[in-house]
């Protein structure tokens, strides 16, 4: 067992973990943050995407011990004071999900896309979401939602982008 200290969604946790434990399992099983889901066994689908130190990674492809000393944000930490993040609102309003399984990862990656480039073209959004698979929507409304969120975040005038 190895001791790790990780900040997740604003709270700091100190835990004993087996080195082989994947970050996604630590989040779901040890911390109960089941908002982050597992969609594949090959690190292809992106459903497990979280932010580590503000940038997106696939939490099924990282060990919990590698997160020691770092800050993790999951989909559960995106809303503030009961207010949905503009990206969450945009997904909701644009019908950017059907079964919803890809959504936690899709939203986390979409936030990362806007952090890299607050005003992306449609093509840049699609390329930015390359590592996130959706088997339901056909992506059209996901792209629309990201465009709406980009506008909303720009409107917040230098507002933070998760």
């Amino acid at each position: 067992m190895t001791t790790i200290r990780v900040t997740v969604d604003g709270s700091t946790y100190e835990d004993e973990v087996e080195p082989r434990m994947l970050l996604v399992h630590y989040l779901r099983e040890q911390l109960g943050k089941v908002g982050t889901v597992i969609g594949c066994d090959t690190s292809n689908c992106g459903a497990c995407t979280v932010h580590v130190d503000g940038r997106s990674v696939k939490s099924c492809n990282m060990l919990a011990v590698q997160a020691d000393g770092h800050e993790v944000t999951t989909i559960e930490g995106l809303a503030t004071d009961g207010q949905l993040h503009p990206m969450q609102t945009a997904f909701h309003e644009n019908h950017a999900l059907q079964c919803g399984y890809c959504t936690p990862g899709m939203i986390m990656q979409a936030c990362d896309v806007l952090r890299e480039n607050p005003n992306p073209t449609e093509e840049q959004i699609r390329v930015g979401l390359e590592g996130n698979l959706c088997r339901c929507t056909g992506y059209q409304n996901i792209v629309k939602a990201v465009q709406q969120a980009a506008g909303a975040l720009a409107g917040q005038q230098g507002g933070e982008q998760a």
Binding site: P19, R20, S43, S56, N61, D68, D112, V113, G131
Partner: protein, 284 residues
């Protein structure tokens, strides 16, 4: 899937990492970004007793100038390579190839050194490293040695890095002012290259003065298309002249046959993609 149990050490210096490797010998495995190794551990294709994580070694990270070269630390993530002005200005070909690797999340954790030591023949970093004439700095308990790209890639998933050694940095000669292009052929987004071509050219007054061409997934290792490079020199920059020079792209290759295509198909692809890559490189 969950990896088999292992012990974990996270040294903070190269010296400590080498000591850990020496202590655990064959039972140890180096962990860089984990974007190839963690899937391997999860599928239990490898079950090391000890994992030596290089992630806490600051000295292995970063991009700096050193005379005629740009030196990239082995643990520098792809994302940092893409964010580097030095790389954009002096190593355009590397920049363009790295931009084609996997997806943004994987590029955040995957490292340039991990990719090169892993040496997957379909990996996108080997061909540009070979084409640009990179040198590999390898460190072991006996000290440091530098290996040229031609001697680094030995076979499928096999490089000059021996057990107990680390790749610590890669030195890329500057190619300032060269045009470059990485032409990656895939059927769906976010896939490994079926074939890809890395091309860098220096054009002088409408004529190709120098050319470098590397091939991805045309054999067990990345390959350099030397015949094409030689044929391109002195050629006027017209589509016909370039196409003629690129016809030899598959010479001396041994491409694999798999579900994506047989080896003849790959040979054909290599000539087409080389022509496209060289023309695109010359155009920018």
């Amino acid at each position: 899937m969950i990896p088999a149990a292992f012990d974990y050490v996270a040294p903070t210096s190269v010296a400590d990492a080498l000591a850990a490797l020496a202590e655990h010998g064959d039972d140890a495995k180096v962990l860089a970004g984990g974007q190839s190794l963690i899937p391997i551990l999860r599928m239990r294709l490898n079950t090391p007793e000890t994992v030596v994580d290089l992630g806490r070694i600051e000295e292995l990270r970063g991009i700096r100038e050193d005379g005629d070269a740009i030196v990239i630390g082995a643990m520098t993530p792809y994302a940092d390579v893409l964010g580097s002005d030095l790389v954009r200005e002096h190593l355009g070909l590397l920049y363009k190839a790295v931009a084609e690797v996997a997806d943004p999340q994987i590029r955040r954790r995957g490292t340039i050194g991990g990719a090169l030591v892993h040496a997957d023949p379909a990996g996108d970093v080997g061909a540009p490293a070979l084409a640009l004439g990179a040198e590999f700095v390898i460190t072991g308990q006996g000290g440091e040695r530098t290996v040229p790209a031609e001697e680094f890639f030995r076979d499928l998933f096999e490089t000059a890095v021996e057990d107990g050694e680390l790749l610590t940095a890669v030195r890329f000669p500057r190619h300032t002012g060269w045009g470059s292009h990485y032409e990656k052929f895939v059927r769906v987004a976010h896939q490994w290259s079926i074939v890809a071509v890395a091309a860098a050219v220096r054009v002088e007054g409408g004529t190709i003065a120098e050319a470098r061409v590397g091939l991805t997934n045309m054999g067990a290792t990345p390959l350099r298309a030397k015949a094409v490079e030689e044929a391109l020199v002195g050629k006027e920059l017209t589509e016909d002249a370039v196409a003629e020079a690129c016809a030899a792209a598959a010479e001396g290759t041994r491409p694999p046959t798999d579900l994506n295509g047989d080896s003849d198909y790959r040979r054909h692809l290599a000539t087409v993609l080389t022509r496209r890559a060289v023309l695109a490189a010359a155009g920018g």
